[in-house]
Each structure stands twice: as structure tokens, then as C-alpha cells.
């Protein structure tokens, strides 16, 4: 036995150290801080549609920023998922949920939320080859897929854009099943990028997408076109905004909004909305357009009659989230932090001291706050050293 002394000692040494390290790791592991919704006003049941991801940063906790998820009012940490499920995680709540629920349908599709529209019955996807394989040269060939959630039946159509173009960027997909409207920025028949609206009948498919409206031409400017962030892709109107860059200095520029528009997916017309001041915001919900006007304490909300553009004041909604009043726009969309869904205005931002994420939900007709609150740690002592940064936010239109 003595001839194995070195072998057994070394193996014992490895076993002891590895076990010791394992025990220490488990013992030293501090559980992720429990999160809670602190209600300042109203009822937390209204936060159901809010889905968000945030990084939890503890100034005493080193370099570890765990990802926390708020879904249907419940908080979970990404690390609670199994190793393989963590690998498939997508940082967009909509795409992540679609992958979890319709894994087979989502296979091979570009994980961009702007390319999907979800209804209670269907999931619709529009994409081109270059969306899923970046080195493929751009073509005017598009793939439209539709999934029937109940029967799990998937239909795929290969369609061509009417005009040949070397650049196609799908900006938004809207559906009033079986009618599909997609906004695509292309360079077809023009030296500059123009945005077109195309329609497609999912029940009566054709092999060519016919242009319904040339939005750029209708709007009459080549200013950059922003599409309103609408979480419900079954809305009638697509809100639009044009903006141009003003060069302020050698190193900086500012963006100036040059016009507000709405595209009516039913009549296929572009509605120009005039008389808007600085600080105006344009929303849509179901078949209605709303205009928000920034005030000192919140936002004055008007219902817009699209025929004569007459604004009817609904009332003023007091906002307890200071930064929600400022419009957030990126990736070609605007209204990131405030939107109207099913008669409620949802806003998110941070508390005045910037330490905690704040949420507010108001009834647009009564202007009552249905919910006002913050996301905080259950252990109040840790609130000073810990902050939660929202990285992704969306409203789930299928949850009321």
C-alpha cells in the first residue's frame, strides 16, 4: 500500500480542497436580494402587463450584476433558470417569452421584436434572409410566417416586395388578422431611403407584397422617420414622427422633431397632425389617437378626432416620475417610456433621486392613478447601496 502513498495523498489533497472549496462557495454565496413592489397609491394588480428586465447593482457587492425579471408582478432572477435555459435567454421580454412558449416557431427567425406581432390567437413574423444571415446580400424577398397558437399550425409565405431594392429594413409589423401591415424602409426607386407601408392578406396570400402607401412621399420630407413604440401590434394607427439633426458643434448634434403623423392601417392614409408644440407626445390605443402635452406636473391628455384634428381634453395626469415626461427614443422608435394600452397610460422611469425604478399607471378617462409605486429591495437596509437599472421594458397587451 505504501507504494501508492503519493498517488493516494495527491488524490486526497484534490478531493479535500475541491470539497472544501465547494462548501465554502455554498456558504459564502449571498442570496440575491429579494425585490418587492412598493405601492404609493392605487393597487399593484394593475402592473400585470408590465414586463421588465433590470440589472441589480450593489455598490458593496463587487462586479456581479444579476439580471432580475419582473413578469406578471413577480420577480425572478435569471440565475434561477437552468444552465441550458440561461443560454437561450433573450434580453427582450417579448422575444424571450415567445421562445419559451413557441420554441419551434421561433427557430430560425430574427429575434427583433419589431418583426413580430402577437395577438391572442396568432403570432406573425416578417423577415428577410439578411435578417437571419447577416452576410447574405439584401434582397426584396421576404418571409412571412404565422402561427396559430391553438392548433400550433404554422404557415410560411415567401413574398417579394413589389419593387426591387438593395436595402430593406422592417420597421414595424401590425396585424388585424388576417390583414397584415408592414412598414419597410427601402431604397427602391429612389436614391434615398424611403419608408413604405405594405399590406398582405394572411388568409388569401399572394406572392408579391403590394405597396399600400409610400409614407415618405406622403409625408413629403426626407427627415428621419421614427415609429411610435406600441406594444399592442393590433392597433389601427401607427404613430410616426419625423426628426432632423441640427449640428450644434463640431462634436455634438441635437435632434429636432419636424412633424407628427399617424398611419391609418384601415384606410391606408397618412394623417398629418398639425399644431403640435414642443413637449408634445403622440399615442394610440385601439382606434383612437391621443396627444399628450407636457405640463409642469405631468401631462395633459387630449383625444384627437382624426377627421377634423380637433383635440378634446380628457384631463391632466399628474406624473410622479420626473424623467417619464421626457421622451425616450432609440433604435428608430419613440415613446419608449410612456404609452397607452387598453385605456391606461403606463409610464416608467426613476424616482427623483434616481435610485429606484418607478412605475405609474393612470386611467386616461378619469386621470386617476391606478398604481403608483417603486421597485425596491425587501431588505430596506440594502436600499442605500443597491440600485436596479431597467434595461428592457415592455407591456404585454395580452395581460389585462
Amino acid at each position: 500500500m505504501s507504494k501508492y502513498i503519493k498517488l493516494s495523498s495527491i488524490i486526497l489533497f484534490i478531493a479535500v480542497i475541491m470539497t472544501g472549496f465547494g462548501i465554502y462557495k455554498i456558504q459564502a454565496k449571498t442570496p440575491q436580494p429579494d425585490m418587492k413592489i412598493v405601492t404609493a397609491e392605487g393597487m399593484p394588480k394593475y402592473i400585470g402587463p408590465i414586463e421588465l428586465y433590470g440589472f441589480v447593482a450593489d455598490s458593496n457587492g463587487g462586479f456581479n450584476y444579476p439580471t432580475v425579471e419582473l413578469d406578471n408582478g413577480n420577480f425572478t432572477y435569471l440565475e434561477e433558470r437552468s444552465f441550458l435555459k440561461r443560454l437561450d435567454f433573450n434580453y427582450n421580454p417579448m422575444i424571450d417569452e415567445l421562445i419559451i412558449n413557441y420554441r419551434s416557431f421561433m427557430r430560425g427567425k430574427s429575434p427583433q421584436p419589431k418583426q413580430f406581432a402577437e395577438t391572442a390567437q396568432h403570432v406573425v413574423y416578417v423577415g428577410s434572409e439578411s435578417d437571419v444571415h447577416w452576410s447574405t446580400s439584401l434582397s426584396n424577398q421576404m418571409t412571412i410566417s404565422v402561427l396559430d397558437k391553438e392548433t400550433k399550425e404554422e404557415k410560411t409565405f415567401s413574398v417579394k416586395l413589389e419593387d426591387s431594392s438593395s436595402y430593406n429594413d422592417i420597421r414595424a409589423v401590425y396585424t388585424d388578422y388576417p390583414s397584415l401591415t408592414l412598414l419597410v424602409s427601402t431604397d427602391a426607386n429612389s436614391d434615398s431611403i424611403q419608408t413604405h407601408a405594405y399590406t398582405f392578406d394572411l388568409e388569401n396570400p399572394k406572392d408579391t407584397l403590394t405597396e399600400a402607401t409610400n409614407l415618405t412621399k406622403e409625408i413629403g420630407t426626407n427627415d428621419y422617420l421614427y415609429v411610435g413604440e406600441t406594444y399592442d401590434k393590433t392597433e389601427r394607427y401607427v404613430t410616426l414622427q419625423t426628426a432632423k439633426e441640427n449640428i450644434d458643434s463640431m462634436y455634438g448634434y441635437s435632434e429636432e422633431i419636424t412633424g407628427y403623423y399617424a398611419y391609418d392601417t384601415m384606410t391606408q392614409e397618412v394623417i398629418k397632425l398639425d399644431g403640435f408644440d414642443e413637449g408634445t407626445r403622440l399615442f394610440t390605443d385601439n382606434d383612437t389617437l391621443y396627444v399628450g402635452q407636457k405640463t409642469n406636473s405631468g401631462i395633459e391628455l387630449y383625444e384627437l378626432n382624426q377627421d377634423d384634428q380637433k383635440k378634446t381634453l380628457l384631463g391632466e395626469i399628474t406624473l410622479s416620475i420626473p424623467d417619464a415626461q421626457e421622451e425616450m427614443s432609440y433604435y428608430g422608435t419613440f415613446n419608449q417610456n410612456m404609452s397607452i394600452l387598453n385605456g391606461k397610460l403606463y409610464a416608467y422611469g426613476y424616482t427623483e433621486d434616481g435610485s429606484k425604478p418607478a412605475l405609474q399607471i393612470s386611467d386616461i378617462n378619469t386621470q386617476d392613478a391606478l398604481f403608483k409605486g417603486t421597485i425596491e429591495l425587501k431588505d430596506a437596509k440594502k436600499n442605500d447601496s443597491t440600485s436596479v437599472d431597467i434595461i428592457e421594458y415592455r407591456l404585454n397587451p395580452l395581460i389585462d
Binding site: Y4, K6, L7, F13, Y24, K25, A28, G61, G108, V132
Partner: protein, 282 residues
């Protein structure tokens, strides 16, 4: 079965004896250089602070603003810790080649004596394979011990005012190198170990190919290495071949990768068995 296990144990013990001097040197080197780092790195930081405060009549607050807080991570991220790890990896990689060639390049061709032993020749193969893994895990273990020794040393040198309060585990988690070396995430660690084992099996096979076919074997060995690499890296080319980056989910790509690595590992074992039994003659 018992006989072959006994033979494996004997050969492994024998191989470990031969490795021990090299292994103990690497262990010692790791401990000594690490220890120097645990003392030198925080002391240098404190010296800088003291010098700054003396020269500028600065307060501790101002010194903190200039130099920041010192954490154990700063010590880990220095040459003193990373260096011995690199030496250890390189050393074990070198020894993986040396473990075979030493048998042929000694004064006496010891390989012939080993191959004449009345045991399966694969026992010899496995004993060398196991010993390399024992060596790797010993170095990982000694690195763990070193960290547990180093943490209180660094904490003692850095005064509380300038310490970041980062715990030992937080510092280890923050360092990307330890994510590969330590079982911080067991599933991830298993993937790394599998990849390491397959790499070692392929390396052993290449050595046996070279030993079997001489100069021609070098080219065959390079071809085998290229083929193994191509098979293992095949999932990375799948998106381009299928012209779709999203056809497979990351978890599926990992599973495919693990299956392919296992296939390459098993193939290497079979090729090695064939070569060691039929091509390497005494």
C-alpha cells in the same frame, strides 16, 4: 477486471512518481510567486497612497479619489497570480507531450520495456491520461489554497479605509480566468473539463500517430488534428452553412458541440488503441 485495474493503479502511481518532481516544482512556483504578489501588490498600492498624501498633503478622501479602493480582485488581476497559472497550463501542456516522448528519447528506450509489460497497452495510455488530469487538478487545488492564504494577507496589508470590501468569492467570480479553472458554475466547468479531456486524447493520438509512422506520421498527425478541430468547430460554421444564425438555439449548439467532442474523444481512443496495439512494435 481486478487485475487490469490493479495494473492501471500501479502504472498511474508509477507515472505520478515520474511527474511528481515537475508537479511539485510547479506547485511551489505557484505558491511562492502568488505569495509575493499578495504582499507586493497591496504594499505598492499603499506606498503610492502614502507618497501621494505626503507629497501633496492630501487627505485620505483625496487619495481615495485618485487611486480608488483596493480589492482582492486587483491582486488577482496581476502578473503575480496570472503568471503562475499560465506557467502551469503551459507546463502541463508540455508534459502531455513529454510523457510519451521521454519513453523513446532516454538513454535506454524505456518504451520497449513498458510495452512489453504483461498488461493491456491501453492501460499505459490511460495511466498517462489520468496522471495529466491529476496534475491539472492538483495545480487547480493549489491555486485555490493560495487564494485562501492570500485573501487575509491582502486584507491585513490594506487598511480598511482603502479596502473595497470585496469578498473572496466575489473577487474570484469577477475574474474571467477562474471561471474557466474553478468549478464556479458546475455545468460550465464540466464543459471545460470535457473539452480539455478531448484535447488531451487528440494530442495523445497525434503523438502515437507520429510514433507509428515516423516522418509520414507528422503529416498524418497534423491532418488528424485538423480533422478533429474541424469536427469540434463544425457547430460554429452551421449558421453560415445553413444561411441562418438562429436555426439552432445556443443550448442546442452546446449539446451538439458536446456530442461532437465525445465522438472525437471516442474516435481518438479507438485510433490510439489500434496504433498502440498494432503499429507501435517492439
Amino acid at each position: 477486471m481486478k487485475k487490469s485495474l490493479n495494473a492501471l493503479l500501479k502504472l498511474t502511481s508509477f507515472e505520478l512518481d515520474r511527474l511528481s518532481k515537475f508537479l511539485f516544482t510547479l506547485m511551489g512556483l505557484t505558491l511562492v510567486i502568488n505569495l509575493a504578489g499578495y504582499i507586493y501588490t497591496p504594499m505598492r498600492h499603499m506606498n503610492k497612497i502614502n507618497q501621494f498624501m505626503t507629497e501633496n498633503s492630501a487627505t485620505a478622501e483625496e487619495a481615495l479619489q485618485t487611486f480608488g479602493r483596493f480589492s482582492f480582485y486587483n491582486a488577482l488581476n496581476s502578473f503575480w497570480i496570472v503568471g503562475p497559472i499560465v506557467i502551469g497550463i503551459t507546463g502541463m501542456l508540455f508534459y502531455s507531450v513529454f510523457i510519451w516522448y521521454r519513453e523513446w528519447f532516454g538513454k535506454n528506450t524505456f518504451a520497449y520495456r513498458l510495452l512489453m509489460l504483461p498488461v493491456s497497452r491501453m492501460t499505459l495510455f490511460f495511466s498517462k491520461f489520468i496522471v495529466i488530469f491529476i496534475g491539472i487538478f492538483t495545480l487547480i487545488s493549489i491555486q485555490m489554497v493560495s487564494l485562501f492564504v492570500g485573501y487575509p494577507i491582502v486584507s491585513a496589508i490594506i487598511s480598511d479605509t482603502y479596502a473595497s470590501g470585496l469578498s473572496l468569492m466575489e473577487a474570484i467570480h469577477a475574474h474571467p480566468l477562474f471561471l474557466f479553472l474553478f468549478p464556479l458554475q458546475p455545468s460550465y466547468f464540466m464543459v471545460i473539463i470535457t473539452a480539455g479531456a478531448v484535447m488531451l486524447l487528440v494530442l495523445f493520438t497525434i503523438i502515437l500517430i507520429e510514433r507509428s509512422f515516423s516522418v509520414r506520421g507528422i503529416f498524418i498527425g497534423i491532418g488528424y488534428a485538423a480533422l478533429s478541430l474541424a469536427i469540434v468547430l463544425f457547430p460554429l460554421f452551421l449558421p453560415n452553412l445553413l444561411k441562418n444564425n438562429y436555426l439552432f438555439y445556443s443550448s442546442e449548439l452546446l449539446i451538439i458541440e458536446l456530442i461532437l467532442m465525445t465522438v472525437v474523444g471516442i474516435c481518438s481512443l479507438f485510433v490510439s488503441r489500434y496504433l498502440i496495439n498494432n503499429k507501435i512494435t517492439v
